[in-house]
């Protein structure tokens, strides 16, 4: 049963390693300036050994930006989400007092782990130590509710957590809820902060590149962990017409499929990726030849880039549009990636340009396709395919179109 309602994006908000708001992020993207640096946010044996894509603000600075007096109960994940959420709302010009049912769908993989890991560090050495207030914000729902409180949304809240595809799934759910008439407006996206937990976790899997990620490069050696948050305001066609809103893009397609192969590795042929992209095309009614640009998941791991590369070649029948992974700019922002890259995709539409796949030098032997190496200006971008493929085979693809 096709639901004909259209879903538009009327506002975007973002904070990441390459900028603390949309304007700064846009500037960095156009300047081909990566946000990957060393580790400054927490003590770790990996300091000076592993790179990170940190948001260039301390927690106290984030607290100040939010207009709050203390970071009590506000984990870094929450703070990033608050900032991006607020910007998205402001950007959309929504008046939340207008009585229109508005939902918040957030996503996170880390949740309040940046705090809870501090608690456990003390508690596990000595069970009478550890500040309890560091564990109360641990669960994923916590950051969502604090963001909801901050941006004053209470009609509907929930949180998705599907590893690296989390916030792509938030956006997908938002669109579906609008199409079904359950909500008219949704603020959807996600947030994740860097933690010792994730840094060490990915490091034990030996998929962190000590030299910073090199997506789709023959010599790639892994990902770079990043942090950040992004939210997009989705509104129904009806509402947009009624309130005569300026629209940034349309969310025309979405697809979610599971690779069902292995918890941390993608199937060699990229089955889940092919299915997810296929579903997105089906929903949008578009054909691959109509895609102007692909913002790939492109983490820089041996496995993902090969699998995704094959899947892209298959779906596009080797007539592949310009594509790039922007993770060499922002790092892999885990649960926030889908939304952060959605914002980046929309910025390609806005700026009529293709942001490059930084750090790329050597074509992959197995693929016939090569990513965009340098910024391309004056390129009309009508439809963007954005991929987010996560651990557990959770593959999601979104299509954004010029309004």
């Amino acid at each position: 049963m096709r639901m004909p309602k259209r879903v538009y994006i009327t506002g975007i908000g973002i904070i990441s390693a390459i900028g603390n708001n949309v304007g700064e992020v846009e500037e960095s993207l156009l300047a081909e300036r990566s946000g990957i640096n060393g580790i400054t946010l927490f003590p770790t044996i990996h300091k000076d050994k592993l790179p990170l894509a940190e948001v260039k603000l301390s927690n106290l600075q984030l607290v100040e930006m939010c207009g709050k007096k203390s970071d009590r109960f506000l984990t870094r994940t929450t703070l990033l989400g608050m900032i991006a959420g607020k910007e998205a709302l402001k950007n959309s010009g929504i008046n939340l007092e207008d009585g229109i049912k508005t939902g918040l769908i957030s996503a996170t993989t880390v949740g309040g782990m940046d705090r809870s890991e501090l608690f456990y560090q003390e508690y596990l050495s000595n069970p009478v130590t550890g500040r309890l207030r560091d564990v109360v914000n641990h669960d994923c729902g916590d950051s969502t509710e604090r963001i909801a409180e901050y941006i004053r949304i209470s009609d509907f809240v929930t949180t998705v957590s599907t590893a690296c595809s989390s916030s792509a799934n938030s956006l997908m759910l938002g669109a579906r809820l609008i199409k079904s008439g359950m909500l008219d407006r949704v603020v959807a996206g996600g947030t994740d902060s860097v933690t010792r937990f994730t840094l060490n976790g990915f490091n034990t899997l030996m998929i962190i590149d000590r030299n910073g990620c090199r997506p789709f490069d023959e010599n790639r050696a892994g990902l770079t962990i990043g942090e950040g948050a992004a939210f997009l305001v989705l509104e129904s066609e009806e509402l947009v017409k009624k309130l005569n809103k300026t629209v940034l893009a349309e969310l025309t397609g979405y697809g979610n499929a599971n690779d069902a192969f292995h918890q941390t590795a993608s199937s060699p042929e990229g089955k889940g990726a092919i299915l997810a992209m296929g579903k997105a095309f089906q929903v949008s009614g578009l054909t691959p030849s109509e895609i102007s640009y692909i913002n790939a998941h492109g983490t820089g791991t041996q496995n993902n880039d090969l699998s995704e590369g094959f899947a892209i070649e298959k779906i596009f029948n080797s007539v592949v549009p310009p594509f790039s992974s922007t993770k060499a700019y922002t790092g892999h922002t885990l649960g926030a990636a889908g939304a952060i890259e959605a914002v980046i995709s929309i910025l390609t539409i806005k700026n009529s340009c293709i942001f490059p796949n930084l750090n790329w030098n050597n074509p992959m032997k197995e693929l016939s396709i090569r990513p965009v190496k340098n910024l391309i200006r004056n390129y009309e971008v009508n439809h963007v395919l954005s991929n987010s493929f996560g651990f557990g085979g959770n593959n999601s693809s979104l299509i954004f179109s010029k309004p």
Binding site: M1, T44, I45, H46, T109, G111, S116, E117, Y120, Q121, Y123, L124, S125, L132, V135, V136, H138, D139, C140, G141, T144, E145, A148, S154, D155, F156, V157, T158, T159, V160, S161, T162, A163, N169, L173, R176, S180, M182, R196, F197, N200, G201, F202, T204, L205, N256, A257, N258, D259, A260, F261, H262, Q263, T264, K271, G390, F391, G392, G393, N394
Partner: protein
């Protein structure tokens, strides 16, 4: 219409046995209610099972029970709700990390991701369909139900496997008990309301349901709808929203035959349940379940199992009766649950 065609529930009760409905009640005096678990190796490849955490085993096996019950070998979609994910694995990594950041075992890290249950089930079944995980306190399972109902309405699926799963560990209990969430001392589960103490009796469980667009041979009930209510300000608002919710499903409050209340024996929060049932459904039969399941974010999965079985077997077991009012019929059941007065939810189940 959405039919519950199969259920698999691992809980602190003997719920995996689909031939007996609340006949062998597990009574215990304990810090928290632990699940009655099956012999996992009978249902899982031993080589794979060796590396699986307890939560994953619970999830996969209850999902398999559900699919067998429904006579469905492959769902079109898999959706899980969990409040805390794998507590055991998370604690393992944190423990190792505290010692030093080298030589950490990757397996618990992989299994600590919240979507691990949905993924492992998909891998086990080789299911390439839609797959998602919701992690939002006591909205987790309800969000899963919402998504599943939407999938069926959209026509993108005919069979959706939906589950609610959470585990408790002693370590986690000891930490969170200090926050006032749980009973400070071991308590007899059937007497939790009589103790008049603060904190709930913690529990755990994994309940999977097969939601289908057609009536299966052994179907239990239909799920009409679910509503999550975030921060309702007053009892009047809850009352009003209940009325609106029921109206959307062509019912009035009078049409509800049984209310299942999520009352958990915590004197700090039970008043909300009692106020709700007496204001919104005065004179109606009220039942409860957390003395059997314990309290956890996805405990409403136990409530759904309860409602589905009452409707299928047309029985109103004594062990779950909260007040003395007998139902005049067992046709429409409403589940009402909340978490610390913030996350309230309604699930409407009919025969």
């Amino acid at each position: 219409m959405t039919f519950i065609n199969g259920i698999g529930l691992i809980s602190p009760q003997n719920t995996l046995d689909q031939d007996s409905f609340l006949l062998n009640i597990v009574e215990q005096t304990s810090d928290y209610l632990k699940c009655v678990e099956p012999a996992y190796k009978s249902y899982l490849d031993p080589l794979l099972a060796r590396r699986m955490s307890r939560l994953i085993k619970m999830g996969i096996v209850s999902a398999k029970f559900c699919l067998t019950d429904a006579d469905c070998s492959m769902p079109d979609a898999i959706i899980t709700g969990t409040g805390l994910g794998s507590v055991e694995d998370t604690e393992k990594i944190l423990g190792e990390m505290t010692k030093e950041e080298k030589f950490l075992n990757p397996t618990p890290f992989i299994q600590s991701t919240y979507n691990t249950i949905s993924s492992q089930i998909a891998i086990n079944l080789k299911c390439h369909g839609y797959n998602s995980t919701y992690v939002h306190r006591s909205f987790s399972f309800e969000s899963g139900i919402q998504d599943a109902l939407l999938q069926l309405k959209e026509g993108t699926a005919t069979n959706v496997l939906v589950g609610g799963i959470d585990e408790m560990t002693l370590n986690h209990l000891l930490i969170t008990r200090k926050l006032g969430l749980w009973k400070m001392n071991p308590v007899h589960n059937l007497s939790i309301r009589q103790t008049m103490t603060t904190g709930a009796l913690a529990g755990e469980g994994s309940g999977f349901f097969l939601f289908s667009s057609f009536m299966g041979k052994r179907y239990y009930a239909t799920v009409s709808g679910v509503e999550t209510l975030y921060k309702p300000q007053t009892l009047d608002e809850l009352d009003e929203k209940t009325t609106t919710f029921l109206f959307r499903h062509d019912l009035k409050k009078e049409d509800i035959d049984i209310v299942i209340s999520g009352t958990a024996g915590d004197i700090n929060w039970d008043f909300l349940y009692d106020n709700y049932t007496s204001k919104v459904f005065p004179g109606k039969p009220v039942s409860w379940f957390k003395h059997l399941s314990g309290e956890y974010h996805t405990a409403s999965a136990f409530a759904l199992w309860l409602a589905a079985n009452m409707l299928k077997h047309q029985v109103y077991p004594e062990i779950i009766r909260f007040n003395d009012i007998p139902p005049s019929r067992i046709q429409n059941i409403l589940i009402y649950n909340h978490f610390r007065g913030v996350n309230h939810s309604l699930i409407l189940v009919k025969r």
